[in-house]
């Protein structure tokens, strides 16, 4: 036992001397055991579980099904944005525009619904056309990014940063300068905020909508399970996760991120593939923005300094991806999102100023990378 503890110190020492000297830590010890390898590889998951345990003691109401559903429900946007970013990061690129594509989809959807609704169109038509407009428009920034990066050889950082400015400008134009867009039909709110199952302990069970006898006054008496947002999150994450791990498209994405030259020589149409990746990233961000409209009922532009895209990158990196490309998993990213979300929620419930979460994100992110640097052979 003591022996194991002493050996475990060794990688920590080489960690302090920088990534280069790590090779000598591979001689054996804790990080060579199955459990050690697992814990180093999945430190984010272990950290998440530790956080949940700690927060359960620090704040009343944290360890509660209602609170957990809240965390998931409020993180829908973060899940989708981070999943989108994961694809791009795996190719070795970066997409800084997703945060503003998110706002663009939300505002454009609301605007179209507002105009069509005022024009007297039937409700299903209004919602369907609003969604269609937002989703179609959200592909465009991604196509633009992809073409700039492949045809015009603009570095991803610059291309997507320029697109960030353009999307932000268009969004502000649509929202008449810093005004949330109102006037979308209120029924979308019901879709965005409903749960799969409502259980009234005294009377009945119902699906997808509140039992009619429930009003605002006795709403606390029913148990709501599985928010609709969870289905959306799971759907998107499962599809992307399946594509990345089980299909040729996914394998090609990893190949491009691992070595662009090798991917070209292996006959992959890299340019076409990259355009698709950026388009998908943008599209998924559009879905996230549209769902934000369904959740809040208003079209929200992305406030300056919100840094949604950087938070997404943070989740991706905490989830084990590397910014140099070729590495990363959708599941890891989901854990990364949860780490950030639980951190925020737990601090709030413990009564600690939520501002500590900004600091927490910074510290976690740096630890993530140092761990990644220190154990390159583990991943």
């Amino acid at each position: 036992m003591a022996d194991q503890g002493r050996r475990a110190v060794r990688p920590a020492r080489s960690l302090a001397s920088g990534g280069g000297a790590v090779g000598d830590g591979a001689g054996g010890g804790f990080f060579q055991t199955t459990f050690g390898r697992f814990s180093a590889r999945n430190w984010a998951l272990i950290f998440l579980i530790m956080m949940i345990v700690v927060f359960s003691f620090t704040g009343r109401g944290f360890f509660d099904i209602v609170n957990f559903q809240n965390i998931i429900h409020l993180s829908t946007g973060a899940f989708l944005l981070a999943a989108a970013e994961t694809l791009v990061v795996i190719t070795g690129g970066i997409d800084l525009s997703i945060g503003y594509v998110y706002g663009l989809a939300s505002v454009l959807g609301a605007k179209v619904m507002q105009i069509l609704g005022a024009g007297g169109m039937a409700l299903p038509g209004v919602i369907a056309l609003g969604m269609l407009a937002a989703l179609l428009a959200s592909i465009l920034p991604g196509l633009g990014n992809g073409l700039l990066i492949t045809r015009f050889k603009v570095p991803p950082f610059i291309a997507t940063m320029g697109m960030w400015g353009i999307c932000n400008g268009v969004t502000l134009f649509l929202s008449d300068g810093f005004m949330p867009v109102m006037g979308a039909p209120s029924q979308i709110n019901d879709i965005g905020n409903s749960y799969f199952l409502y259980i009234d302990p005294s009377r009945s069970v119902s699906f997808f909508s509140k039992p009619p006898h429930i009003t605002m006054t006795n709403i606390r008496s029913i148990l709501r399970l599985v928010p609709n947002s969870l289905f959306l999150t799971l759907l998107v994450l499962l599809i992307l996760g399946f594509v990345m791990s089980r299909t040729r498209f996914g394998r090609h994405t990893y190949a491009i991120g691992g070595s662009m030259d090798a991917a070209v020589r292996a006959g992959i149409d890299v340019d076409r593939h990259l355009v698709m990746i950026y388009a998908i990233s943008s599209f998924v961000s559009g879905i996230a923005g549209l769902f934000n409209l369904f959740q809040t009922g208003i079209g929200n532009y992305t406030p300056s300094g919100a840094n949604y895209e950087l938070m997404a990158v943070a989740a991706v990196v905490i989830g084990g991806a590397s910014l140099t490309g070729g590495k990363g998993r959708i599941l890891g990213t989901a854990v990364g999102v949860l780490v950030l979300a639980v951190l925020e929620n737990g601090l709030q419930i413990a009564g600690i100023s939520a501002f500590y979460r900004y600091i927490g994100v910074g510290v976690l992110l740096t630890i993530a990378v140092i761990i990644d640097r220190a154990f390159p052979d583990l991943f």
Binding site: P155, F157, M161, I166, G169, S304, L323, S353, G362, T366
Partner: protein, 352 residues
């Protein structure tokens, strides 16, 4: 004969391509002057520089890091951090019984020292722990944002001495209608007469530091080392440059300039708030890239970055004068940023 003229033609094209940014600025000025009579004047020219002080300072902040091949995402929030700390310090010194001028000077000077620390940590993470610059500086963004939010608790700093605003919005030189000159203080004149103000204080403040660091980057060994590191870090190491040391210095200079931008903001707007520089990151990086630097490192100069920042400053002030809304600025800055990179690929020798 034929080849000669072709050569001449291509060299002319190349010269145009290399200096497209200057031509672009001329076109912008021409365009705005045609659309608004009020645009072409000394006052507007000074306003452009006055409004753009933070863009100039943050552009230089970003330049030093981009030359080394890195990136500093924290500049905007280090600037916000600086506005909070500077204003709190000034209020604190004033509360201790210092005169307004003394507390402003002491607060700003103290901030310039505190402002070195975010860069020190960034540089240490990047150079010694080999954390990618993107991650290290994003972490610093979070930390500085968190600390400044904790310090203000959501309320922008108040109760600064009014002298701060007088300094921040005043000018270096005033010319009264009778030809009398006065420095720093606006002369009293009869109603209806106009005083000509020349050189806003904050522009002088900004360019004082920018010129010093232009000299350091362009003329001193340290500057050459930065270009060498950005060009090829292995070669730089092998040629005996203390790469880790110089990298840390680059990040420290970056956070110093971000702090200066914060000090300038406090003087101009007499308040401090965490998100003062929240949307400045795009503009800071755009200034450097429009100025012809490559994100891969090894290129970029202070002069060209100033030109790049000038494009953004002219756009912002010009669009406001002709009555356009802010959203056009975002769209145009984004589009010009992308265009700049594309044009530079057509004329790759711009920085030689």
């Amino acid at each position: 004969m034929h080849t000669d003229s072709a050569d001449q033609k291509s060299s002319l094209q190349e010269r145009l391509g290399r200096n497209w940014i200057a031509i672009f600025i001329l076109l912008l000025v021409l365009l705005f002057s045609v659309s608004s009579r009020a645009f072409f004047s000394i006052d507007t020219a000074q306003l452009i520089f006055f409004n753009g002080t933070e863009v100039f300072l943050l552009g230089i902040a970003e330049l030093f890091v981009i030359i080394t091949g890195g990136i500093d995402l924290s500049v905007g929030f280090v600037m916000g951090f600086s506005t909070v700390v500077t204003s709190k310090l000034i209020v604190m010194f004033a509360g201790l019984g210092f005169s307004p001028l003394a507390s402003i000077l002491a607060g700003s000077a103290a901030m310039m020292v505190i402002g070195l620390f975010p860069g020190l940590v960034n540089g240490w993470l990047v150079a010694y722990l080999r954390v990618p610059a993107f991650i290290a500086t994003f972490s610093m963004l979070g930390v500085t944002h968190g600390i400044s939010e904790l310090m203000t608790q959501g309320i922008p700093t108040k109760n600064l001495p009014s002298l701060a605003g007088i300094i921040g919005n005043g000018s270096f030189l005033y010319i009264a209608p009778n030809g009398a000159l006065s420095f720093f203080a606006r002369p009293q004149v009869a109603r209806g007469q106009t005083v000509i103000a020349i050189l806003p204080n904050m522009v002088v403040f900004a360019f004082f530091f920018i010129l010093i660091f232009a000299f350091i980057l362009g003329r001193m060994k340290f500057g050459r080392h930065l270009y060498a590191i950005g060009g090829n870090i292995d070669a730089a190491t092998r040629s005996g440059i203390n790469v880790k040391h110089d990298l840390v210095k680059a990040y420290v200079i970056s956070s110093l300039f971000a702090s200066l931008a914060g000090v300038s903001y406090v003087m101009k707007y007499i308040t401090g708030k965490p998100d003062a520089g929240a949307n400045m990151l795009l503009e800071a990086i755009a200034a450097v890239v429009i100025g012809g630097a490559s994100m891969a490192g090894g290129s970029g100069t202070v002069g060209r970055t100033i030109l790049g920042a000038l494009v953004i400053a002219i756009l912002e002030t010009g669009l406001r004068i002709i009555g356009m809304q802010t959203f056009m600025t975002y769209i145009l800055v984004g589009a010009i940023l992308i265009l700049a990179v594309i044009i530079d690929q057509v004329f790759p020798n711009r920085n030689r």
